[in-house]
Symmetry: none
Subunit: 422 residues, 2 copies
């Protein structure tokens, strides 16, 4: 079973609006087990919309259109579907009455042009719209079904969930289950990861796909099956194989974030964290704050300049770097100073400043634990938003891996200095 | 001149990702005066991607693809374009060298599968990619041009602006000038703003459009003209009228950010700023840090809990709130404590915590200036990302308006307490 989605609206083609309806419809169809092979966006143009619907009908069993059902002259979907399905538009007096009633419920009057909305293709199934004025409809043709829905996200979502999905389940006898599970990885590059699971990415059921962000890659497992249990089993088998190969590169699943996972690990141990960042590397404080785990996240400080560090951590022995480089000695002292100053179990410091004559940019990431200090320096071309994300991810992952090691060997090792360089 | 955009990626068709690249490309092409008639999204499938490119080439003069240029087996754009343009893929050793060099600059090694990225259609024009590993290309065919760009937004945007737009201007002799100028406003609602300029928004050349974010609204003036000078003149006239009506609601132009403008005002006066936020309201530190103005931005602190405040500002007289509400007295003490502790000219505090039984969420925003303290409390339904942005914007605007007042009446007023409530 194949579907295509057609989103219409000149504002989409002009780029004034990001097409969130397309993603929404895609997710809904996926959950029904319907494959979407193409999505097309057209402007408010009758001829081109009709051409898009005809092409989609020639390739797919189901075509869903959104938008273009309003009362103005640039709302062309009704006419376009009429042309491409060869059905003339017919006025439905009961729809005129429904539109009038909706206007009345707002204490206002229907305008003349709203009557346009009550014309739908001959023989179409009316889909009542209790959340807006635009009536919607489904046209059954010998080669496929066309369903036309409004472009207002709130209306679209209501109609899709309350009317269209039940209609499609019934109409197409959809009993297949599609389930997805996302494994979240960090601190491993997409290509390195891809090489480890190259063969698994060829699998057809489940499929395995990658989606890379800064310092993180999502591994998406998607299974089709006749029952929920069967889908779960297919996913679980693939997940076991992926976990075997990717080990502790996997930090979570679904929509878990790395900062959530780390703060959760800390909270479960009754531990807490204080972080310090330079303006050039700042992102950690913001990410940790957004989790809403105030007990584990004690404080995050962003300093404009290394000099503030001494003012802040008066007791710490700091070797303030004059150039752009933040040496590990300084980052470790900062991480330790934060840990002590705020009585936190762990301190993390991500330090780097931009000196004009220095390329690439070098940052030092240090973790101070009760009996241990770890530091690494990393090099990036520039300290832009992407690289801030990447540095914050590396810092969080440094703490995560430390906490994982504690789980496997709970006796803390004697104080060591473990200084690496990448 | 007609264009089509093809965005590829199974994650788009599954709805895991909203297609922001499509909107970005649409805006860029509009600014060149190129009409986009269709946009198509396809999955990571060679045959369907090739079919989409072929169809687009049959209808348009220009086809731009994004995505599918990575190193893994599900990156199929190179092959698809090769098929649809009838050009075999050819290995470019100089591209292999460029990819290797890029990996080296990160201190890591190219993997075997990255070599795939150096194969491009025979006769294609190479578009160097200094911001990523995926080489891009343009294929000129008798019926049209196909340009293939990466799907990573940061790379796509860089390449579009630095390489593709100059290429298209030259290739298609695009000489009509379309210029846009954006006036940035804050702390005025979109509808209030719209009412003030309702008549100007009906204008055809230039057009005036609004784009609202959290607490900010962009006013976009777009002019078409035969010459640069003519376009500038049309825009300047409209800008003068808009400034007359919107006054100090306009804080900047173009891609200036509010935080940039505020730090710039401070830097010019030799002034500096220290900020304090609660985790539930944090965003200010991150936004200020991202500007890169280390002299004016002294320090930003995010506290997990009000209790850290006393530890941090040992000398300040703090009345620690036990419930969720952060009273103005506390926010002012925090702002003043920060100002003194870090020897900054100004202190800003945005305080609020989430107590389970409190709806709506109330935050206090305080500014401490050398001779003055200002505070306001604001109420929002929840402390989500949108409202954090909104609170940080209000705080920055509080400081901006204070600095504007100093410009017009430079003698500082005697110390006053100016406590408002919204």
């Amino acid at each position: 079973m194949r579907a295509e989605i057609i989103t219409s609206g000149t504002e989409l083609l002009l780029g004034d609006l990001v097409d969130t309806n397309a993603a929404y419809l895609s997710r809904q169809l996926r959950a029904l087990g319907i494959d979407v092979h193409y999505r097309t966006t057209v402007g408010d143009n009758e001829e081109r919309t009709a051409a898009a619907v005809s092409l989609a009908l020639s390739r797919a069993d189901l075509v869903i259109t959104t938008g273009g059902l309003g009362p103005t002259v640039d709302d062309v979907t009704r006419q376009a579907v009429a042309i491409s399905t060869g059905r003339p538009l017919v006025l439905h007096p009961e729809l005129v009455a429904a539109i009038e009633a909706r206007f009345r419920s707002f204490g206002s009057q229907m305008t003349e042009n709203n009557i346009q909305q009550a014309y739908i293709p001959e023989g179409a199934v009316v889909i009542e719209n209790p959340v807006g004025t635009a009536p919607c409809f489904a046209v059954e043709t010998p080669t496929g079904t066309v369903i036309s829905l409004p472009g207002v996200p709130r209306e679209l979502e209501y109609l899709m969930e309350k009317r269209v999905i039940p209609y499609l389940r019934e109409r197409f006898g959809l009993h297949e289950i599609i389930k997805t599970r996302v494994l979240k990885t960090c601190a491993i590059g997409e290509s390195a990861l891809g090489q480890k699971i190259d063969d698994l990415m060829q699998s057809h059921n489940p499929t395995v796909g990658l989606n890379a962000h800064a310092g993180q890659t999502d591994v998406r497992i998607t299974a089709k099956a006749a029952t929920e249990e069967e889908a779960d089993r297919i996913i679980a088998e693939m997940e076991a194989e992926l976990r075997e190969r990717l080990k502790d590169s996997i930090y979570g699943v679904g929509d878990q974030t790395l900062e959530e996972v780390v703060l959760d690990m800390l909270a479960k141990r009754g531990d807490s964290l204080a972080v310090l960042e330079t303006a050039a590397t700042a992102q950690l404080s913001q990410r940790l704050a957004s989790v809403g785990a105030e007990q584990a996240f004690r404080v995050g400080i962003v300093i404009g300049d290394f000099r503030e560090l001494q003012a802040l951590l008066a007791d710490a022995e700091l070797e303030i770097a004059e150039g752009g480089r933040a040496p590990c000695a300084m980052a470790e002292a900062a991480a330790e100073g934060m840990r002590e100053r705020f009585a936190a179990t762990y301190g993390l410091a991500v330090l780097g400043t931009v000196s004009s004559d220095e390329t690439p940019f070098v940052a030092a990431i240090a973790l101070s634990a009760p009996n241990q200090a770890i530091c690494r320096t990393v090099q990036r071309p520039t300290p832009d938003a992407y690289n801030r994300t990447w540095l914050a991810t590396l810092a969080l992952d440094m703490l995560r891996k430390h906490l994982l090691r504690l789980q496997t060997s709970p006796e803390q090792s004697p104080r060591t200095k473990d200084i690496g360089r990448e």
